[in-house]
């Protein structure tokens, strides 16, 4: 049937049936029908009269009708799919992970072997592309050096969509182990490829499992701390093939061993280890986590991770406000005395409308009591509120405090007292909204001594005291019975009173850009003064210092410099963003974010480069810039104003190798998804002989419209001739009869 239709119409039956018919009718359909009827009647009736033969008349009418139909030049418009005879873009992973030897031969060798015979793509028009940190065209595979510290596969696929690799791409072949360093949204790029009809056929190289390997799979360490902080590093170690063996996790800080933790591998494949890291000296520190390679280990490069952490020594301004004289003022001052980075102001309301100011820098600071404007309050980084009821801190003050946390990004510590929380009338208040705890009815009569202990099943990262210390610390007085934490809040410390549900003593959460902690005890100083506590005991100091340090960490300034990646590999682009806010921390839009500011980058060899900011395309309050890290070592970044005053600074450590040796097994899931979602095929290296055929079948096609002039087709000629012959035969038979 198909061949019949092709021969007589030049199209498939399906195309013909789906096509649309057009006639060139100068006087409309109705007239056409009238003319056809008239002709049929005249010719049919006349001929019937003459021949007295109905079949002949019908044939004659049909013939006349066909001829009349043909006079209107009938045409059929059909749609047809046509394969594009374009280029095949062959993308080859050029990253350093391709040098990994999975067994007997490296991944790079596998690629070279694929092209060695020269015939896998000889029938195609091919554009060869090397995919690494950037995408670059190459003439031959011999140009591949497999030394890129990153493999931005998604960026390369996006280049296809964007037409950067030619405008007539018919299909893509991607040869990779699946390691993808790109930050671009892969799903979005795949959707665009699919919409363009470009299939990606993928050849996966490398092993999906390593027989013998130990890997530092993940290191979690906050990138910025306050000098003197002790923070906890969380390390995930994976192993295969070494069950029953013992290893040691060595942690070095600035090339000095600070801890070694023994680990016994059982049958588990993954181990989580936490290690405290203390950063005493201000500045950038290198922290390395290493497990010495074992015998027969496939990959030694993934046994060590080095990261950097910045110990800040910028002063932190703390305002402690008390609505009445309290010993908490004295003992908080004592606890923070040795924290040289803290500039503590205490504002104590000693009588109605009379304030005692301690630690102020000049006669005007806080002279009118609690700050009355955002500009006045936002100069502080941390606000500590003690005994101050909702009558004293009215709606205006509470709004200021809320914005101090949410917009300015400050830290807020709320202390317990008879004038705090629900007991201070804060239920359903603006301040209550900022709290990590749920306030219920007032409990004016509640007063109990509570044994304070860490909340169970919570990581003890905020307050680090030994179990023995928790046991011997005296009870503290609770007058604010808090029992419920808000969703997302962390309960750090609980208070235990006989036969009562545990009280929430210390709870924390993030609120807007800032942080809030509630310490619901009336007399934390009891940990300093109690007879069971020796004068050299630092438990109270530790409590208050660690809360203050947690609150003071990462407090945004008016100018914020952000480096996108914590680990930067040689040759990688260092992406930098700058955000500036006004004195009241309102975002500055467009080029206001960087106007009058200059970025100075000092390279490890001492050169100074000056990348220029441009407005971000994704956020209206960001300026962005970048530079290529061409040296290993430390880059110093400094944003200065017109007067060369440093507004923000940061440092970037550039490593020789990136993340290419981590999770370096072939990622078949990722590669398969690329092929599947674009309509391509996922092949192993053993199936590459099918590649030419697959490429051909998956080449991009186009839908084109075709007009078939029916009156010119062989079908029409045959129809007319056929009817004429039938009519002649009928007449001849009638004459013989």
């Amino acid at each position: 049937m198909n061949s019949f239709a092709k021969t007589f119409f030049g199209a498939d039956p399906q195309q013909i049936l789906a096509g649309s018919l057009q006639l060139d009718i100068p006087f409309g359909w109705f007239a056409l029908i009238l003319v056809l009827l008239a002709l049929s009647v005249v010719f049919g009736f006349g001929y019937t009269k003459l021949s007295n033969s109905a079949p002949s008349a019908i044939v004659r009418i049909a013939l006349v009708s066909v001829i009349a139909f043909a006079l209107f030049r009938p045409a059929l418009t059909i749609q047809s799919e046509q394969t594009i005879d374009g280029e095949t873009v062959v993308m080859i992973d050029n990253s350093i992970s391709m040098k990994i030897d999975d067994g007997s031969v490296s991944r790079a060798s596998v690629v070279n072997e694929l092209f060695a015979s020269g015939d896998i793509l000889e029938s195609q028009r091919v554009r060869l592309v090397a995919v690494g940190e950037t995408t670059s065209e190459i003439e031959t595979v011999e140009e591949l050096e497999f030394d890129s510290p990153r493999s931005n596969l998604t960026d390369a696929l996006h280049d296809v969509v964007a037409g950067k690799l030619g405008s007539d791409t018919a299909s893509v072949v991607l040869i990779s182990d699946g390691g993808n360093s790109s930050d671009r949204d892969t799903s979005s790029v795949l959707r665009q490829l699919t919409a363009s009809g470009i299939a990606v056929n993928v050849i996966g190289v490398g092993s999906e499992e390593f027989a013998n390997d130990i890997e530092i799979a993940d290191v979690r360490l906050t990138p910025r701390v306050i000098a003197g902080d002790t923070v906890e590093a969380r390390i995930v170690i994976k192993q295969s093939g070494y069950s029953g063996q013992n290893v040691t996790l060595n942690v070095e800080q600035d090339d000095r061993l600070i801890s070694n933790t023994p680990i016994s591998f059982t049958d588990d494949s993954s181990y989580v280890v936490t290690v405290p890291v203390k950063l005493d000296e201000p500045g950038q520190h290198r922290v390395s986590f290493t497990v010495d390679p074992l015998s027969n280990e496939l990959l030694a490069e993934n046994n060590s991770v080095t990261t950097t952490i910045l110990a800040d020594d910028q002063p932190v301004d703390v305002l402690h406000f008390e609505g009445e004289p309290r010993f908490e003022v004295k003992f908080l001052r004592r606890a923070l005395l040795d924290e040289s980075f803290i500039r503590l102001r205490s504002l104590v309301r000693t009588a109605e409308n009379k304030y005692y100011r301690i630690g102020v820098v000049d006669a005007d600071e806080l002279k009118d009591g609690f700050p009355e404007s955002e500009e006045e309050l936002f100069r502080y980084d941390i606000l500590v509120i003690g005994s101050a009821s909702s009558e004293l801190l009215g709606e205006r003050e509470q709004t200021l405090i809320r914005d101090f946390v949410a917009r300015r990004g400050g830290g807020l510590l709320l202390l317990g007292s008879a004038n705090s929380f629900a007991e201070g009338g804060f239920r359903n208040s603006i301040l209550a909204d900022t709290m990590p705890v749920v306030l219920t009815d007032k409990a004016r009569t509640y007063r109990n001594l509570a044994k304070v202990k860490p909340a169970p099943d919570q990581p003890r990262t905020l307050i680090r005291l030994s179990d023995e210390t928790w046991e011997r610390l005296p009870e503290l007085t609770v007058v604010n019975p808090l029992r419920t934490a808000k969703p997302g809040a962390s309960v750090v410390l609980e208070g235990h009173v006989d036969n009562e549900e545990p009280l929430i003593v210390l709870a924390t959460h993030r609120y807007g850009r800032g942080k809030v902690a509630t310490l619901a005890v009336r007399n934390s100083w009891r940990w300093q003064m109690h007879a069971d506590i020796g004068p050299d005991d630092l438990s109270h100091e530790t409590l208050m210092r660690q809360i203050t340090r947690w609150l003071g960490r990462d407090i945004p300034g008016q100018t914020e410099l952000t480096v996108k990646d914590s680990r930067v590999a040689l040759g990688q682009s260092v992406e930098i963003a700058l955000r500036s806010v006004s004195k009241t921390f309102e975002s500055l839009q467009g080029n206001e974010a960087y106007d009058g500011k200059r970025l100075e980058v000092t390279t490890p060899s001492g050169q100074i480069i000056l990348p220029e900011f441009i407005s971000s395309s994704t956020a209206s309050d960001l300026g962005e810039t970048s530079f290529i890290a061409n040296e290993t070592g430390r880059y110093d970044l400094r944003v200065v104003d017109d007067q060369d005053v440093t507004l923000a600074s940061d440092q970037v450590e550039v490593f020789a190798a990136g993340d290419e040796f981590f999770s370096a097994q072939r990622d078949s899931e990722f590669l398969g998804a690329i092929a599947r979602q674009t309509g391509g095929h996922y092949l192993s290296t053993a199936d590459t002989d099918r590649l030419p055929e697959i490429i051909e079948s998956t080449k991009r096609t186009e839908i084109r419209q075709q007009r078939i002039e029916i009156w010119k087709t062989p079908f029409m000629l045959c129809l007319v001739l056929g009817l004429a012959v039938i009519g002649w035969l009928l007449r001849k038979r009638g004459a013989m009869a």
Binding site: R326, R333, D368, E397
Partner: protein, 262 residues
């Protein structure tokens, strides 16, 4: 929330009124039988005016030396403290031995008549720990060089390496609530009412001396050649000069506010 300079309005005009209020406080006469620990165990307030008990010796006329002016001076001072400040003070007396571990519940300690102070070794250790932990000790009502020598000797037992030094008038303790511009010699009730002399023995010049810790924090504040306690106790007597009782209350309140803040 606006601050107003209230120093004057809170001081001089109010003191006569305070005297009237104080005169209404009835205090039972002290006798030897009633002396002993009267320490508070249920701590409901922020501040306790805590009087330190020391020694065993009883004076024939006055009872034990630690209890001079006790408890009326303490109670009357607490009334003034409540009336003039926002300190949440316990309104009654709180006497506790300086060697008692429970002293550590009360970071403010008042001890007087230290001319005859004699501490056991346990008391010395307890007092040292108390002060090192953050306690604040106010000394009052001892006169002359003989008494000073004894007190200084006792304090050397507590802190052998620290000296009692003069506290300058620009120190925060003199400005924590009121601005104290001069050190006034406050006489005992007899001398104050007679009006001929304000000193006792050879203690003609009043001093405020202090003992500081390594961080410059005032741990011990010594009022030598002056008797604040008598001024607190007898402020309700019309014949006791107002300027002495005014000064005594002002500097006493400063001690409390400072002691709760530094």
């Amino acid at each position: 929330m606006r601050s107003i300079a209230l120093t004057l309005t809170l001081s001089l005009p109010l003191i006569p009124a305070m005297a009237l209020i104080l005169s209404s406080i009835w205090v039972a006469p002290a006798n030897a039988d009633q002396y002993g620990e009267l320490k508070v165990t249920d701590i409901a307030h922020e501040f306790y005016f805590t009087r330190g008990i020391y020694g065993e010796e009883l004076d024939a006329d006055w009872g034990p030396r630690w209890a001079v002016d006790y408890p009326k001076a303490d109670l009357q001072f607490l009334v003034a403290l409540k009336r003039l400040t926002l300190v949440d003070g316990y309104p009654s007396d709180n006497a506790i031995h300086i060697g008692d571990p429970d002293l550590r519940e009360f970071p403010f300690l008042y001890v007087l008549e230290v001319g005859a102070l004699s501490m056991s070794e346990d008391d010395v250790v307890a007092l040292r720990d108390y002060l090192n932990s953050g306690g604040f000790l106010v000394i009052d009502d001892f006169w002359g060089s003989f008494a000073w020598d004894n007190f200084e000797q006792q304090m050397k037992r507590v802190f052998p390496d620290r000296d009692l030094v003069e506290v300058p008038l620009d120190h925060p303790v003199f400005h924590a609530f009121y601005d104290i511009k001069e050190i006034v010699q406050v006489p005992n009730v007899h001398n104050g009412e007679v009006g001929e002399q304000t000193w006792e023995y050879d203690g003609k010049v009043p001093h405020v001396r202090g003992l500081f810790d390594d961080d410059g924090r005032l741990m011990v504040l010594v009022n030598w050649n002056t008797d604040l306690g008598d001024a607190w106790e007898w402020a309700d007597r019309p014949t006791y000069p107002l300027r002495f009782s005014t000064y005594a209350y002002e500097i006493g309140i400063n001690f409390v506010v400072y002691g709760m803040s530094y």
